[in-house]
């Protein structure tokens, strides 16, 4: 008897589904459909954008090749010679003159000098390498002034 009473109470509860619940189902379904639609639309749009970007990349790549070829053409010997002779009025040299410039030990030392990689502030607030550089510049000027005339050694 008790089991019969329970099943009958269950049967009575079934029709008590609220109308708002019934309304929410299609609304949720419609919402999900709209979401899917938006997603699909967005993906389609992104797909087209991707294709456009790929095409644009190809165009840029081709333009890069074209510019490289153009640079090579502008650096070609024939072009340089044409510009030099026609625009700049240059002429081919018949015989260059070679000069032997003697170098003193001090000038060799100067050539080897390099400023330090890291700048250290001196006691006076000036960079640490500046004072010796000024000194070396003075020394260089002195050496250059003592150098003799360049010696022409080319054959006639």
């Amino acid at each position: 008897m008790s089991s019969l009473a329970t099943s009958s109470s269950l049967l009575r509860r079934q029709p008590r589904i609220s109308s708002s619940y019934l309304l929410s189902v299609p609304l949720l379904t419609a919402g999900a459909s709209l979401l899917l639609l938006f997603q699909t639309s967005s993906m389609t749009s992104d797909g087209y954008t991707l294709r456009e970007l790929e095409a644009s990349r190809q165009v840029e790549q081709q333009q890069l090749y074209r510019l490289e070829a153009e640079i090579a053409g502008l650096q070609s010997l024939a072009y340089v010679e044409r510009v030099a002779s026609q625009k700049l009025g240059m002429v081919r040299t018949s015989q260059p003159v070679f000069l032997a410039v003697s170098r003193s030990p001090i000038s060799r030392e100067l050539a080897q000098h390099r400023p330090p990689a890291a700048v250290k502030a001196g006691a006076s607030g000036a960079p640490g390498w500046l004072a010796p550089l000024i000194e070396l510049t003075r020394e260089a000027a002195r050496v250059v002034s003592t150098l003799g005339q360049p010696q022409a050694v080319a054959r006639p």
Binding site: T40, M43, T44, G47, Y48, R51, A55, V59, Q62, Q63, Y65, R66, E68, A69, A72, G73, Q75, S76, L77, A78, Q95, P96, F98, A100, V153, A154, R155
Partner: protein, 567 residues
């Protein structure tokens, strides 16, 4: 009866259903793959993505051949709706005169596609394609560009319309230059356009490698200009110039004439295949007096003669019943070995060859690389023809004629490699033209290859000094002297063999090197069939002088006086 009829109908339906099921099963299993492919072909498109062909660069990385995508613009005038408006738009995109475009789009040629513009840059071509006009077509193609113009055509070679190399480096290194093409598979709609959300699979192309040559564009240009000048001056039929580094075997310039024009190449026209030959490696010739250097090298290294060794030059010598005379018929009297080279005396070369003997002479000839290809990687290389004392048909007189470069065939490349060995300290270096292969992932470098030692360093020094001394005051060799530099060299004038003997036609040649104390360059010049003067000393020597001078300045080799002053 009724149940029987019903049963019959049901039975028939069952049979038909079974047949249908069997047919469906057959299509789904046995013919499944076929129908799947048909469906895929309808639905899936596949395109080849052409890989960018690698460039050919000179030794300093300057492009000699490179690739670019261009468009040809075609128009069908009878389908153009508004000619004036269309012409205006096309003219602005293609940067062409409006009148020219209008003339093409209004030409009365119904049913014909006319070429409006050729080799249009890719961005302009794609703008035309984006118009989607039915009567206008933008056809994409890949073209090979030559920034330096028609430089070293026989070395570079050419590519066909299918982007496959047909000759020269383009053919020899086609696989490396071409790279690997990619594929693009995508789903398409009924109009053939790609479905944005459809399946899309791209196998990316792999760009081709760049081939870096040992050629120096500056020296190559100098060689071509000077060779052209000599050919024009002497109305010659052609010629070859090779410039090489004797220490490494690197070829710095290889000029051939006649040749084809890369910048004017039209593959639609019939082509003369003879022009595509790299004559520096394919053509054999009798070297003439240049070969006396090899004879002298064999004698000096073999300890048979010294530079001061003398012989009595009577102007003519009879060998095995055949008279052999000097080229000028003169008797030079008591002559040393330097004098032999200076006067280019045939009688003297015969005398030296007799002292060396056939066995030793031909051993040296072989060791210098004659009679075998140099394996320079330049295609079509000939071996030359050397008939030695062990060969069938060899006669003792052959030793005499071979000693001054007759009766023996060599290629210009073999000759310059051998002279390189004479002057570089005695080691035969393998000539090579490809220096580097720069791929997307790896770089492969070629190293100099010493084939073998041919003569001792001491003999090489002696021969360098002899060739330098012989150039100083030799027959017409003043024309070869390079201002401010000390060079060595040897002239050659070879008669061209004809049926039963030799013709009146000659090959004028010169081989020289400099600086003679420490050779940086060896230059071989061959001018074929000069019409006015036959002598190598007059025709080929000035070419050496001009090329060597420019090359020395370009390579910043200090003049001899500076070097002497420094030491």
């Amino acid at each position: 009866m009724k149940p029987l009829r019903l049963r019959l109908v049901m039975g028939a339906l069952a049979v038909m259903a079974a047949a249908l099921a069997l047919r469906v099963a057959y299509l789904q299993t046995v013919e499944h793959a076929d129908y799947r492919d048909q469906a895929a072909a309808e639905h899936v498109a596949q395109e080849q993505v052409v890989a960018h062909r690698g460039s050919i660069l000179d030794r300093n990385g300057r492009p000699l051949a490179t690739t670019m995508e261009v468009y040809d613009i075609l128009v069908r005038p009878d389908q153009v709706q508004r000619p004036a408006e269309s012409a205006e738009i096309l003219a602005s995109i293609l940067d062409l005169p409006y009148s020219q475009v209008l003339a093409t789009v209004t030409r009365p040629e119904p049913g014909q596609w006319l070429r409006l513009a050729r080799s249009v840059p890719s961005e302009a071509g794609q703008r035309v394609a984006a118009l989607h006009w039915t009567p206008v077509r933008a056809e994409k193609r890949v073209t090979r560009l030559y920034p330096e113009g028609n430089m070293a055509p026989s070395v570079l070679g050419l590519v066909g319309r299918d982007h496959v190399g047909l000759a020269g480096i383009e053919a020899d290194f086609n696989a490396e230059l071409m790279g690997r093409h990619g594929t693009l598979r995508y789903e398409r709609d009924s109009t053939g356009r790609a479905i944005p959300l459809g399946e899309r699979r791209l196998t990316p192309p792999q760009a081709g490698s760049d081939v870096v040559l040992t050629i120096d564009r500056f020296i190559q240009r100098a060689a071509e200009v000077e060779l052209d000048r000599a050919i024009a001056k002497h109305q010659a039929s052609g010629g070859v110039v090779i410039v090489a580094n004797p220490q490494t075997g690197e070829l710095l310039a290889v000029a051939n004439r006649p040749s084809f024009d890369l910048s004017q190449l039209d593959l639609e026209k019939p082509i003369d295949l003879a022009l595509f030959r790299n004559r520096a490696v394919t053509d054999q010739y009798e070297p003439g007096s240049i070969f006396k250097v090899i004879t002298m090298a064999a004698a000096v290294d073999g300890g048979v003669v010294l530079p001061a060794t003398t012989y009595m030059d009577t102007g003519v010598v009879v060998k095995y019943g055949w008279p052999i005379s000097n080229w000028d018929g003169k008797a030079n009297g008591l002559t040393d070995m330097v004098g032999l080279l200076r006067h280019s005396a045939n009688v003297g070369a015969v005398w030296v060859a007799d002292r060396v003997g056939p066995a030793r002479f031909y051993e040296y000839v072989r060791r210098f690389g004659f009679g075998a290809p140099t394996h320079s990687e330049l295609s079509g290389e000939a071996s030359g023809a050397v008939r030695d004392h062990t060969s069938e048909g060899w006669r003792p007189i052959d030793l005499s004629t071979n000693s001054f470069g007759q009766g023996i065939s060599v290629t210009p490349l073999q000759m310059i490699a051998a002279i390189g060995a004479v002057v570089n300290g005695g080691v035969l270096m393998r000539p090579y033209v490809v220096k580097e292969l720069r791929g997307p992932g790896e770089t492969r470098r070629w190293q100099p290859v010493a084939v073998r030692r041919v003569i001792s360093p001491e003999s090489s020094t002696t021969l360098r000094e002899m060739m330098h001394a012989s150039l100083d005051g030799g027959e017409g060799t003043k024309l070869a002297s390079v201002p401010a530099y000390e060079a060595g060299g040897k002239t050659g004038t070879a008669s061209i063999p004809a049926a039963g003997g030799y013709s009146e036609r000659t090959i004028a040649s010169f081989v020289g090197f400099l600086p003679y104390r420490n050779p940086q360059l060896v230059v071989l010049i061959r001018v074929d069939e000069p019409k006015d003067i036959p002598w190598g000393s007059v025709v080929a020597s000035p070419v050496f002088r001009a090329i060597a001078q420019q090359a020395m300045h370009h390579l910043r080799v200090p003049p001899a006086s500076l070097v002497a002053g420094r030491s």
